[in-house]
């Protein structure tokens, strides 16, 4: 008899547990629900929390849990979570990962939400919102965006007696300055020339009049005359020893070299502004200028998008939150805290004002000549091949044209796989 009693209790406990689990997914209106919102940036977490708090004030029934994952684990965790049904409800998305998620039906279609909330898509940089459109549907509202400029160290320019970069600079000016600024005795280099796509050779390929990937995403442009020209901008700097070697830049990233004042110029994005601003050692020493022009002006642009998980248990509340994340209030919080350059038009002034020591307007002016970051096909796969194929060109072991043609062949092969 006693045994049966235990069994019954155990059964009852198990049943309670089951109902407790299913009770959570109950979708009755007015019930309190919790949504998770994942990001990969410790630096931006305070602003994300502030946005969440603001949303909760207006929606007391919805609790937002901000979750920060390290960059190295972010995509693996998200992928496994999405496949296994445990992904965060809302999360940051990047253009080069976006296609796989949209194609796999993992993201909340925002088209209806945009309509019902009267969200004006013209408020976002077209290049960014386009990069989150798949099959004609919008799957993420742009959170921020970035364009590229020349971060430069005024102290090193002064020491070498070189004029600061400005909007009149051509490629030749940049090359000349990089050589003049290089001082082997002090261990100072004029520029950092890593194999960097987004801040580096994509921009110069475009500036040389080339493209990166063609419009229908079937072929790349690395081996074309303009493509090679764009790559040569960087290999020339390496050949002139105006940059740390690739080995040096592997051990110590370009941005760290710049922060340690070992390189005078670093071509990169707006997203470093807050980090540099918070670095006391750089106070009053650095500024930013537009990228130099080749045949024309150009920069790639991209931005983070706020996406929702299609498998979320609370789709209605989630859409409400995503609409808020895409709105002006969330943008203003990001701007006022200096966190990033918000994507929402008209909210960028507070960002400029938050770090008045830098000519940050450069990044906003660059929107006029910006081109979306190419993300055709399996972007993570072909982008990952860059160092392997272009490395020999950077180190001077292979002619640039040869390395570029081989890289193009490898990229085109990846693009050919649907």
């Amino acid at each position: 008899m006693k045994r049966r009693w235990i069994a019954a209790t155990a059964l009852a406990a198990a049943v309670t547990l089951l109902t407790a689990c299913s009770g959570q997914s109950d979708e009755a209106s007015g019930e309190k629900v919790t949504l998770t919102y994942a990001n990969w940036s410790e630096d931006q977490t305070p602003a994300m929390q502030q946005i969440a708090d603001e949303f909760q004030k207006a929606n007391p029934d919805i609790t937002i849990k901000v979750q920060t994952l390290p960059w190295t684990e972010y995509w693996t965790t998200l992928q496994v979570g999405a496949a296994g049904g445990t992904a965060p409800d809302a999360f940051w998305m990047l253009a080069d990962h976006f296609r796989e998620y949209a194609k796999g039906g993992q993201l909340v279609d925002m088209s209806d939400t945009v309509k019902s909330n009267n969200i004006d898509l013209a408020k976002y940089p077209k290049a960014v919102s386009d990069s989150y459109t798949y099959d004609g549907k919008l799957f993420a509202l742009p959170k921020d965006f970035d364009t590229n400029g020349i971060w430069y160290n005024k102290a090193l320019f002064d020491a070498a007696g070189v004029k600061y970069p400005d909007d009149t600079w051509t490629w030749q000016d940049a090359q000349d300055a990089a050589k003049k600024l290089t001082d082997p005795a002090k261990g100072v280099f004029g520029i950092a020339a890593p194999i960097d796509a987004q801040g580096g050779f994509y921009n110069t390929m475009l500036q040389a009049g080339g493209s990166i990937i063609n419009a229908d995403g079937t072929a790349s442009d690395f081996g074309s005359p303009a493509g090679v020209e764009g790559l040569k901008f960087w290999t020339d700097l390496q050949a002139a020893k105006a940059s740390p070697t690739l080995e040096q830049l592997s051990d110590t990233e370009a941005v760290s070299m710049f922060e340690n004042q070992k390189v005078a110029m670093y071509f990169s994005g707006a997203y470093w502004a807050l980090k540099f601003h918070n670095n006391a050692a750089l106070k009053g020493k650095i500024d930013v200028a537009p990228l130099p022009q080749g045949v024309k002006r150009a920069t790639v642009t991209s931005g983070i998008g706020n996406a929702g998980y299609a498998g979320s248990k609370h789709p209605e509340q989630l859409k409400k939150f995503l609409a808020f994340l895409g709105g002006s209030k969330a943008a203003e919080i990001q701007a006022a805290t200096g966190t990033v350059l918000p994507a929402y038009e008209g909210t960028q002034q507070p960002w400029l004002d938050s770090m008045p020591e830098y000519k940050l307007q450069v990044f906003i002016d660059a929107i006029a000549y910006s081109v979306p970051l190419p993300v055709a096909g399996n972007a993570s796969e072909w982008q990952g091949l860059a160092t392997q194929y272009l490395g020999p060109a950077w180190s001077g072991k292979k002619p640039v044209q040869e390395a570029a043609t081989e890289y193009q062949a490898a990229v085109d092969q990846v693009l050919a796989k649907k």
Binding site: K103, Q248, S250, G384
Partner: protein, 309 residues
């Protein structure tokens, strides 16, 4: 699992009739959590991996059966063979740590007081996060500002870019691998040493055997079961190395990465970065086979050198 489960009730019934069936079910109920856990967490993922290796599995969405395509592609993939070679070289280097561990274990055994302190010191890397170890060694190996090159410069030796120059990376990993494995090997070998009867040493000393002779004629043969065990563990662990590769060559811009991937790193990259999960599964299955063969081979070979009394 089911076969052992159905057998369970029978066994007691042979000796004491009557209570068999209900007791059997209770036993089943008690082992159920462990069994279910094992099935769900080990057997099912294992089977899924084997199945996936015969499929084209995109990041999300339905998989398509491709037969042995993944394996054929694998055999013709130069990246796979390079990774295979890298893992083999790394394993060979880390195996050099076994004789080091034997010698150190014997030396620590000689220490009178403070033996525990040495053990703790050598064991620390074992309980340290591999990520932290990778980060620290990344600094040590830094070509411009690293500790290693600074020390080398005192002796007039030119430093190298240990983890950015593909000529050195695997060796650089190997040194860290030896250091990381030393602690656990010392514990196992130390336990083996203490099981050797002291009388043997006393008797051989009376017969005029010196320390060195004792080490090779008594210590090593009697320690051989422990040495064998440590060797098997080391090979399995080394073939599965991923963390050092992942942490120390972090960033797609590392110039050495393309030439320094281990098998498990390649698996990670294919399955989780490039979204080719079927191909990744095939790599995992091949690695499993390689480890099985390597281990079976060692069990075959041990007959000729491991001494069981």
């Amino acid at each position: 699992m089911t076969s052992s489960a159905t057998k369970l009730p029978r066994r007691p019934s042979g000796r004491r009739g009557g209570v068999s069936a209900p007791n059997g079910w209770w036993a089943l109920a008690f082992i159920a959590p462990a069994t279910i856990g094992l099935l769900l967490l080990y057997v099912w993922p294992f089977l899924r991996t084997v199945i996936d290796s015969f499929q084209d599995v995109p990041a999300f969405g339905p998989a398509t059966w491709v037969g042995t395509d993944n394996y054929t592609a694998l055999l013709h993939d130069p990246d796979f063979w390079k990774a295979f070679g890298n893992s083999a070289l790394y394993t060979a280097i880390v195996l050099l740590g076994v004789p080091v561990a034997i010698a150190l274990a014997a030396l620590i055994e000689q220490v009178g007081r403070g033996r525990a302190l040495y053990r703790v010191l050598f064991f620390l890397p074992v309980v340290t996060l591999p990520v932290a170890i990778g980060m620290v060694w990344r600094f040590i190996y830094n070509g411009d500002f690293g500790l290693l090159n600074t020390v080398l410069s005192w002796f007039g030796v030119d430093g190298q870019f240990w983890v950015a120059d593909p000529r050195f990376t695997i060796y650089a990993f190997g040194v860290v691998g030896i250091w990381m494995g030393l602690g656990i090997n010392l514990i196992i070998l130390g336990a083996g040493l203490q099981a050797i009867p002291k009388a043997l040493y006393e008797a051989s000393a009376l017969d005029g055997a010196g320390r060195v002779r004792q080490f090779f004629r008594i210590t090593v043969p009697l320690l051989s079961p422990s040495i064998f065990f440590v060797t098997v563990l080391t090979v399995i662990g080394a073939l599965q190395m991923f963390d050092l590769n992942f942490i120390m060559l972090r960033g797609v811009n590392n110039t050495a990465l393309a030439d320094s991937k281990t098998i498990v790193y390649l698996f990670y990259e294919k399955a989780f970065v490039q979204f080719h999960q079927g191909y990744g599964a095939a790599i995992a299955v091949v690695l499993l086979l390689v480890i099985m063969i390597a281990t079976a081979l060692q069990f075959r070979l041990q007959r000729s050198w491991v001494f069981y009394d």
